[in-house]
C-alpha cells in the first residue's frame, strides 16, 4: 500500500473505532442504574495513558528518521536545479538564476535513480514547490520563501513527466501557477 492510502486507511480505521467506542459508552448509559460506572477508573486510566504514551513513542522512533531533513544528506546530488518562484510562475534552471532577470534556460531533465537537489527560493511572496507524478500524487515538496534558499533532495524512481504546483497561497492566480520537468 502506498503512503497516501496508508494514512487514509489509518485515519478511517481510527475514526470508526473512536466513534464506535463512544457510541458504546452512550448506549451503556441508557440502561444504567445508580452505582454503575467504571470499576477501578484510576488503574484503567493509568493503563490507557501508558499504552497511549508507548504507542506515541514507538511512532516517534519509527517516523522521525524518515524526516526529509535526514534524507540523502551524506550523498552527492548528481544534478542541481535552481528554482525561483514569482507570482505566478516558476523559473527552473541548471545554473544559478539572476533575480533581476530570471530566465529558464532549457527544459529540465533529471536522471532516475540518483539523488538530485532543488535549490528553491522566491523573488516575491511565499510560494510552494510541490512535485507531482503522472498519477497526480504529491511526491515531495518544499516552500519557496523570499530571502532564503530551501534545499530539497530527492531520488526519483519512476521516469516520466512531473508537474510542479504552487502549494502556498500566493494570490489570485495561485491555482494556475505551475511548470513541468522530466525524469529519464
Amino acid at each position: 500500500m502506498k503512503a497516501h492510502e496508508f494514512v487514509l486507511a489509518l485515519f478511517l480505521v481510527s475514526a470508526i473505532a473512536i466513534a464506535g467506542l463512544f457510541y458504546y459508552f452512550f448506549l451503556s448509559s441508557r440502561q444504567a442504574a445508580d452505582g454503575g460506572g467504571v470499576s477501578n477508573p484510576t488503574k484503567k486510566r493509568f493503563f490507557f495513558f501508558t499504552a497511549l504514551a508507548v504507542v506515541m513513542i514507538i511512532l516517534l522512533l519509527v517516523t522521525i528518521p524518515k524526516s526529509p531533513y535526514f534524507l540523502f544528506t551524506g550523498e552527492n546530488p548528481s544534478k542541481v536545479v535552481y528554482v525561483a518562484a514569482k507570482q505566478y510562475s516558476f523559473t527552473l534552471s541548471s545554473s544559478a538564476i539572476d533575480p533581476q532577470n530570471p530566465v529558464s534556460t532549457e527544459a529540465i531533465e533529471l536522471p532516475a535513480g540518483q539523488p538530485v537537489e532543488f535549490r528553491v527560493t522566491s523573488l516575491d511572496v511565499n510560494h510552494g514547490f510541490g512535485i507531482y507524478n503522472e498519477r497526480a500524487e504529491l511526491v515531495t515538496q518544499t516552500q519557496a520563501m523570499p530571502g532564503y534558499v530551501n534545499r530539497l533532495r530527492w531520488e526519483f524512481t519512476e521516469p516520466g513527466t512531473y508537474n510542479i504546483l504552487c502549494l502556498e497561497f500566493c494570490g489570485a492566480a495561485h491555482s494556475f501557477m505551475r511548470t513541468t520537468f522530466t525524469v529519464k
Binding site: 503512503a3 494514512v7 485515519f11 463512544f22 511565499n126 504529491l138 516552500q143 502556498e168 489570485a172 491555482s175
Partner: protein, 481 residues
Amino acid sequence: MTTLSLKKITSAWIITILALFVLAIAFGITMRFNQGANINLDPAKFYSLLTTHGVTMIGIWAVAGMVAVNYLLARYVPVSTSLNVFAFILTVVGVVMLWVTTFIGHFHAAWTFLYPLPFYVAWEKWATPVFLLGLGVLGIGWFVWAVGMMLQILKKYSLRHTFAWQHLTTKHDVAVETPPFILITTVSLIGIIVCLLAAVVLLVLFFAEYFSSGSFVNDPLLMKNLTYFFGHTLANESLYLGLATLYELMPEVSGRPKFKTTWYVALGWNCTMVFVLTAFFHHLYMDFVQPVGFQMIGQLASYFASLPAAAVTAFSVMVLVFKNPIKWSLTNILFFLGVVGWLIGGVGALIDSTVSNNIFLHNTLWVPAHFHTYNAMGNVLFSLAFFNWAANEFVGNQNETKSYSLKIVLLLIGGFGFVLMFYFAGAYSVPRRYSVYPQEFTSAALLASAGAWFACIYLVVILWMFFDIVKKCFKVFSPSY
C-alpha cells in the same frame, strides 16, 4: 454572581456569533461549490471569501469560548461586565473593518496574511492597513478582556492554586481545591494572552515596514514563525476554552457529581499549557531553512500536547458516561459529540504533524479536513452546548421536552460528510486554497460538490438551532424580563 447585565451581554454575543456563523458557513459552501465547478467565481472574489470565512470563523469561535468562560466564571469570582461590553464593541468594530476590506476593498491575502503577501497589493490600497488595523482592534478587545478575567481569578486564587500546583504534591490533604474549570480557564487564558502579544509584535513589524518606505524590511522566516505561533495557538486555545466549559457544565446537566481536580488533571493541563506553545513549529516543516531542532520539537510537542488532553479529558468523559444513568439532553449530547469530533480531528492532526507524512500532506486538503473536524464537529459543538444551556438558563428551564434526535442525526451526516470529502481529496494530494482544481485531479471537483451538499445539511441544523436559541436569548431584553 450572574447578573442581569451579564445575561444581556451574553445574549448579545450569542445572537451575534450565531448570525456571523450562518453567514460564514454560507461563504464556505459558496467556495466549495466553486471548487466543485457548480458556480464560477472570479478567483479574487473566491479568495476574498476565503479570507472572510477564515478570519470570521477563527474570530467567532475564539470569542465564543471567552463568552462562555466569562459567564461561568461569575460563579466563582466577580466578573466585569464593562470589560465584556468593551470587548463586544471592539469585536463588532473589528469585524466590520475586516469585512469592509474584503468585500469593498477586495482584500484577499487569507486570514493568515502571510508576510509579505499583504504588501503585494492586488486590491484597494487602503485595504491592507485597514485589515491589519481591524485585526489589531479585535486583538486589543480580547487582550484586555482576557487580562481582566485573569486578574479576577488571581484575586481569589494564588498563582500556585490557579495552576493547581498544590495537587501535584505527594501530600494528600489539599487544603484548597482548584476547580477544574478555573485550572483550564487559566491555562487557556494564558495561552490567549501570549498569542495575542505575538500578534501585537507581528502587527508592529508589519506597520514598521509599511511606514518606513523601504528603509526597514522584515525577515520572512521570523514573520512566518510569528504568524503561525499566533494562528495555531489561538485556534488551539479556543478549543481549550470549550473544554473548560465542558468540565463545568457537562456533569451538571447530566445529573452527575462535578469533576474534581486530581493530580493527573493538574499535571495534564500544566503539560498542555507548555506543549501547545511549541506545537506550531509543525506549520514550518517544509521550510528546510528552519533549524532542525525546532522541527523535532514541533513533532514531539504535537504528539505530547494531545496526550494529556486526550488521556485526561476523553477518559474523564468516558468515566462520566459509561454505565452511569445520564440525563441526556441536547446540551450534553453536544458536549459528548464534540469530544468525539475533537478526537477524530486530533487523529487527522497527529497524522499530519508527523514530518514524514507532512511531506505529502502539507497544504493539501488534509489540512482543512482535520481542522474542520475539530472545529465544526468539536469546538463549535462545545460552544453550541453552552449557547443552548445559557438560552435555557435565560428562560429558567433546563428541561427541554422537544426531541432532538433528528437534529443530531442530520448534524452528524452533514458535518462528517462535509469533512470526509476533504480527507479523501487530501489523501489524494489535492491542494488546499485552490479556487478551481486543475484537470489532473479527476475527482476533486466531484468531492467538492458533494462536500458542499453535505455542508448544506449541516447549515440547516445550525439554522434550526439558531432560531431555537436566539428566540430565548431575545427574552432577556424584554422589559418584563
